[in-house]
């Protein structure tokens, strides 16, 4: 007990307080920090990079969220009684979630390659001239988000699948008697009764999307010329904290990420009352 608590206190609780303090300081090149009040925050709100990062993070989050309706539908199919190969499907859909992000990023770079990638090859078959996915500003983040959607789909499906199991079979039997179609049953029974799970998955997806770093870093590479236009909030944090070594500024960015995640989560809990039906 005591070793764990001291470890947690040293490596987590204390650092949280310290970061809060650091966000009000500026760091000298040779160490030592100076109290500068809210300077970092003032600088941050007038930093155009912050808005680029914020915009990209929101765009990424939005695209990854599109995976949730897909996951609801697929989880519903996967949960059909007596479905054969269900565990094989489950493994296939879950595989991307457990795979090392930096390792799968390597193959996605090739898949999205502008000259010889298979995505552009397939697009060329239908007469579309595909873009340079990972080296065009504005498009690179979309490519990263597609990978993000791909890798998080299985996780959402599993969580939603657990929710589906708790829906009583009687509802479907009654609907069947009334002659409701499968699609009607899905929209009128499954989706409303599943709304607490859908809500939960949405929160988890938003929180993890706001922390986008691994995929972006690994797919684009740190030397990519489009990075300034494609960075995420966490990439901005990483750059300030460990590349340009402005740790006070990075601490302020970290606090902004923290507050944003908190606000979005709070907002979702507010909205929850509108659409989540509790059985």
């Amino acid at each position: 007990m005591l070793p764990l608590l001291s470890g947690i206190a040293l490596f987590y609780l204390w650092p949280i307080l310290q970061t809060f303090y650091y966000s009000f300081t500026e760091w000298g090149v040779f160490g030592g920090s100076e109290w500068t009040g809210v300077d970092n925050y003032v600088r941050l709100v007038s930093d155009p990079q912050l808005y680029v990062a914020l915009g990209n993070t929101l765009l990424y989050t939005g695209i990854v969220l599109l995976g949730i309706p897909i996951a609801v539908y697929l989880a519903n199919l996967l949960n059909l009684p007596g479905l054969r190969f269900a565990s094989l499907y489950r493994v296939l859909f879950f595989l991307p979630y457990v795979a090392m992000p930096t390792a799968i990023a390597m193959v996605w770079r090739i898949i999205f390659n502008g000259d010889f990638g298979i995505v552009n090859y397939l697009l060329s078959l239908v007469g579309i001239d595909g873009p340079y996915w990972v080296s065009s500003p504005g498009i690179a983040i979309v490519a990263v988000a597609i990978v993000g959607l791909w890798s998080s789909l299985g996780f959402s499906m599993i969580v939603l699948g657990a929710g589906l199991k708790s829906i009583a079979i009687e509802y479907y039997e009654a609907a069947e008697l009334d002659g409701a179609s499968r699609w009607r049953q899905f929209t009128s029974i499954t989706v409303p009764l599943l709304s607490p799970s859908i809500f939960f998955v949405t929160i988890i997806t938003v929180i993890s999307s706001f922390q986008l770093f691994d995929l972006l870093y690994a797919i684009l590479g740190s030397q990519n010329a489009v990075l300034p236009k494609s960075l995420s909030l966490v990439y901005l944090f990483y750059e300030a904290g460990f590349i340009t070594n402005e740790k006070g500024y990075a601490a302020a960015i970290a606090m902004v990420i923290f507050v944003l995640i908190g606000l979005v989560t709070l907002l979702q809990f507010r909205l929850q009352k509108r659409w989540v039906s509790v059985d």
Partner: protein, 284 residues
Amino acid sequence: MTEAAVRTRRRARRGGSHAWAHIVLGVGGFLMAFPFLWQIIMSLSTNAEVQSVVPTFWPAEIQWENYATVFERLPFLSQLRTSIVITIIRCIAQIALCTLAGYAFARMHFRGRALVLALVLSILMIPSQVYLISQYQIVQGFGWLNTIAGIVAPGLFSAFGTFLMRTAFLNLPTELEEAARLDGASPVRTFWSVMLPLALPSISVLAITSALWSWNELLWPLVISTYQEQMPLAAGLATLVSDKSNTNYPVIMAASMMAMAPILILFIVLQRRVIDGLAFSGLK
């Protein structure tokens, strides 16, 4: 409509919709697996084949030597060693520390328990960037930059693991402990021989999640280690692509395949448990 008729109708419809389900799930499953298949195919192709404009769907001649080349071009073995060492140390430490702490939170009464628990759980809500800079300072203060100790350190302790194990122990009946006590077992013995075996399913979830997270983690090792030789595989691969001159795609594919292989094999072997465990860890 009679009940029998409903049943027949349902059976008929179910058969039909299952065919539809197999089509949708089959196509979806293929899309999920495609990047992995593509990676394997590319890793066995020549560089010219990878870069041909009309994709080569199957290499003319399978290039096994790409896998051998990985060991010449990259510090693969030392990165693999780092990955294995940090993963094992973290797993053992988390199992030991989180089980004990989880048990204490679930079963022992001490002053300030609620407050301490709330503090530990509050960490779960806070994005990791918030503590990263300060963790870096601490590790630097210990003189552990560019060492395995530095990479391992914060990951030894886990608020999530504590929460997981607390839940596990809370769900075990207290009668068992009372029975053990009446039989004259000491508290340590009760914990070791009665409670711990019962918590094994949760302990395995803890081991799997911490292994997975440790193996795949990028940001922390990236800031702590600057020499490629000491990085774990996840960070090593990421720095590899930053090097523009490195366009030997098949070798990169082979390297990333090998880097993922241990965790993918672990997943496929233990899939049921991993999926259930990670679904739970979504609470993180």
